[in-house]
Amino acid sequence: MQAPVELPISPRLAKNIRRNVKERIIELILMMAALVAVATTFAIVGVLLYESLSFFKTVSVVEFFTDTEWTPLFEDAHYGIMPLVSGTLTTSAIALAVAVPIGTVSAIFLSEFASHKTREIVKPILELLVGVPTVVFGYFALFFVTPLLQTIYPDLPSFNMLGAGIVMGIMIIPYIASLSEDAMRAVPMSMREGSYAMGATRFQTAVKVVTPAAISGIVAAYILAISRAVGETMVVAIAAGQQPNLTFNPLESAATITAYIVQVAMGDLPHGSIGYQSIFAAGLVLMAMTLSFNIIGHWVRKRYRENY
């Protein structure tokens, strides 16, 4: 056979320019759509940074992180973000303390114990919890859970982090349950068969084999749930109280970053004032917190992706 030489291209096989151009244009349009996501991120970061920069012209970064009072709207203003951060972290911690055990156990139950049918029915219903407007949960915390708690702690103020945190926990149960269940479902059947074949029971298989195998997915679910809790607004705004309070005591009332933002937004928005800028500075901190949780979550999932 002859050695390959460059051959001319017959017109029947040559590139169809019109078709190729059309294809490129379509691709470009689709790409623009994908870029909206990037643009949104940039816009968010841009807006937050822009207003925060004006804010930090008035307030030093050191004061921002070390002052223990947050009273930007009062005559004698203090700009220490820590009281808001402590409120945010405390409510989130309570939420997780509720949601992690219940969510995980629910996930194990759904994935390993429930029949296929139960799972098909229950999982979507559980997901409905995610769709309930958070305002409703807020009032549920204020009018139902807190009074209930007050029968245990009579001195509990009507706005407190405990009630808000518990309800927020209830809200994120489905989130953890659903994501963890997905992770457990992804564990191949062969792994379970291996365990059952050794004479293990369901519980042993679930706890000793399936859960460890799915652990990175489960941990990622926890982390994403933290980020949800940290960013949740209406429940804490309504039920946790709106008084910035540097405390980690769940029985006290305190403001979270999100609650502060809506509280200011509900009042007035004197564009350009320090008060206006302060919600962006608070927003920036919130964004940084959730972003780092999200990144850690993704990292965990990627880094420890199960290689079965």
Binding site: L73, Q242, S253
Partner: protein, 304 residues
């Protein structure tokens, strides 16, 4: 485009304006929006020309007058009702029979260290005190701090602030040691959960409960206050719907103010306000400072 009357401002005045707006839309078919950003928040928008009318639970301040000047906004100041700023406690609180202004000051002054009822008055029990009050963009806050602490906006900061008065109601009603202050109407709607405290204006004086009568006869001091609407003068002059709305407001105020549980002005005062509006006299009778216990007719006559 459709004509829309835009109103924002005080959450105290909101129920009155809302009632007027509702009736006005029902009878005249012109659209009205009413926000409740608080007196301060309302003025910010008003002075930028974003709204036609601003509700206020205190007179306009010098700062705001300057802002309006900057924004080229002239305003007409119209008192529309009285309110009694009410100090409330939980209905299970059986120890407070009255509070003097001095005691209120002790509680609310900047850097107040009062955290327990005992600290206010030795006869009170050793019970934690939880404070609730309006937020900083609220006219009620300004008025109360002026009347009690002697300086507008001077207040302690470690209390639960909210522009939403119902949050305050909720706070006190769920807390035996709670204390809050807000407009009379919010108290009257919640008498089952809250108890209003009679206020002693001067040491040795008589304790007075807030009510229509004590406001009208001037004995509920220093916490009785007039409520206002501020109308954009240009709008009033050139937009017939604004003029119609304000006239409708003043015409129906006596009835509607009562309905929403505020205290109407005496009839002759409403007549004076109507005349004042007809004359379209811009400006304020307060000169940018707050005054406690002033008469409406005096006020109007100050504006030239």
């Amino acid at each position: 485009a459709d004509k829309i009357i835009k109103i924002d401002g005080s959450s105290t005045v909101y129920p009155i304006t809302e009632a007027v707006a509702e009736e006005f839309q029902r009878t005249k078919g012109i659209k009205v929006t009413v926000g409740e950003s608080g007196t301060g928040g309302g003025f910010k928008k008003f002075c930028r020309g974003e709204t036609d009318i601003s509700d206020a639970s205190r007179p306009i301040t010098q700062k705001e007058i300057d802002l309006c000047k900057e924004g080229g906004v002239q305003f007409i100041e119209l008192p529309v009702a009285y309110d009694a700023l009410t100090v409330v406690v939980n209905s299970k609180n059986d120890w407070v029979k009255q509070l003097t202004v001095a005691e209120l000051k002790k509680i609310w002054e900047p850097n107040s260290s009062v955290k327990n009822w005992k600290q206010v008055n030795a006869t009170f029990p050793d019970k934690a005190m939880n404070l609730y009050g309006p937020g900083t963009s609220s006219g009620t806050f300004d008025y109360f701090t002026e009347a009690v602490n002697g300086k507008a906006k001077a207040s302690r900061k470690d209390y639960t602030p909210s522009e939403d008065d119902n949050v305050l109601v909720q706070g006190v009603s769920g807390n035996v040691g709670g204390l809050a202050y807000f407009g009379l109407a919010y108290y009257l709607e919640n008498t089952d959960k809250l108890r209003a405290i009679p206020i002693v204006a001067k040491e040795g004086g008589k304790p007075v409960l807030p009510s229509e009568a004590t406001v009208m006869d001037g004995t509920y001091q220093p916490l009785a206050r007039p409520l206002f609407i501020y109308v954009n003068a240009t709008s009033a002059a050139f937009k017939p719907e604004i003029k119609a709305f304000v006239n409708f407001y003043l015409e129906n105020a006596p009835e509607l103010v009562k309905e929403v549980k505020y205290v109407p002005l005496p009839k002759e005062d409403y007549d004076a306000v109507k005349t004042h509006f007809k004359a379209m006299k811009p400006g304020t009778g307060f000169n940018g400072t707050s005054e406690v216990g002033i008469k409406i007719t005096d006020l109007l006559s100050r504006i030239k």
